[in-house]
């Protein structure tokens, strides 16, 4: 594996980059402050990134922010979808993150039992 492979990826991916940069359909923001990290936010973030990558969801962006302000509910995740109110999820773990990808991000149904 070497950097030559990045060129192949570039050629393959460049066509949908313009679309993606214009407007991501969904933004998933994971709280990565000190208490979030201590509660396992890194694994939650990793799961979101991997699931989005695996499903080739080019219109979804996963990112992180500092403290979400509710240490007792960390790890916390916010899902922003165009023209819909943001959904905040608390006490997340990798399994819950997978369900949010399938049910909310792919099928459009927020997972109310994880929402706070």
């Amino acid at each position: 594996m070497n950097l030559e492979e990045l060129k192949k990826i570039r050629e393959k991916a460049q066509k949908d980059v313009e679309l993606r940069q214009k407007q991501a359909r969904i933004r998933i923001v994971v709280g990565m402050g000190t208490s979030g990290i201590a509660a396992g936010a890194r694994d939650v973030l990793k799961t979101f990134v991997e699931e989005v990558g695996k499903r080739n969801l080019t219109d979804v962006v996963v990112t992180q922010t500092g403290e979400k302000g509710l240490a007792s509910q960390e790890p916390m995740v916010e899902v922003f979808e165009e023209s819909k109110p943001a959904v905040v999820y608390g006490n997340m773990d990798p399994e819950k993150a997978k369900r949010v990808v399938v049910e909310h991000v792919v099928n459009g149904q927020p997972v109310s039992e994880f929402a706070i």
């Binding site: 990045l6 990826i9 991916a13 989005v52 695996k54 992180q64 500092g66």
Partner: protein, 175 residues
């Protein structure tokens, strides 16, 4: 923090919050002395001398409810209780550098943890930041400069699903 990789994640988040565009992270272990060193340096907005002193104080952080900096006294505490050292230098408008060392034979030293996942999530969740990463421990010498990758990718972001897959495999293979 249960392991050093989580400490690193936390310290680097301060750099991200400080608006850094370039962040260098080095984890190295001296095979002769068994001293483990961790350094993070960024080109973020930096701090003046007074603030640089205050962020090392755990009580300052919690009393003011400040969002940034709680991880610094935690890392400092871990370094100093495991026979190591801690240094923070910062210049307002120029950036901040943190170096912590640990005696890797100390019984209270937390495990290294999953450095691979820390590198992975940092890169893909901040594709606009150049990460210059080095991991030189126990005979391994891993280097990754994401600026180089970005040049090759010519506009395709590091968080594109194709690149995420590539990066994941690359880290598994090399780190």
């Amino acid at each position: 923090m249960e392991d050093l990789s989580s400490h690193i994640m936390d310290i680097v988040m301060n750099s991200v919050t400080a608006g850094a565009k370039h962040i260098a992270i080095t984890i190295a272990k001296d095979p002769q002395t068994a001293i483990m060193s961790l350094s993070v340096s960024d080109d973020g907005r930096g701090m003046d001398a007074e603030m640089a002193q205050k962020v090392q104080d755990p009580f300052f952080s919690t009393k003011t409810g400040r969002k940034v900096g709680l991880g610094i006294p935690l890392l400092k505490g871990t370094a100093e209780t495991t026979g190591g050292s801690f240094a923070l230098t910062s210049e307002k408008g120029a950036g901040t550098s943190i170096t912590a060392t640990f005696d890797s034979r100390h019984p209270d030293l937390p495990p290294l943890g999953n450095i691979r996942d820390t590198f992975f999530v940092l890169i893909v969740s901040h594709p606009e930041i150049d990460f210059d990463l080095r991991y030189a421990v126990d005979g391994k010498d891993f280097l990754l400069d994401t600026a180089e990758w970005r040049r090759e990718l010519d506009g395709v972001p590091l968080n594109h699903p194709e690149v995420i897959g590539f990066l994941s495999n690359y880290l598994d293979e090399h780190l």
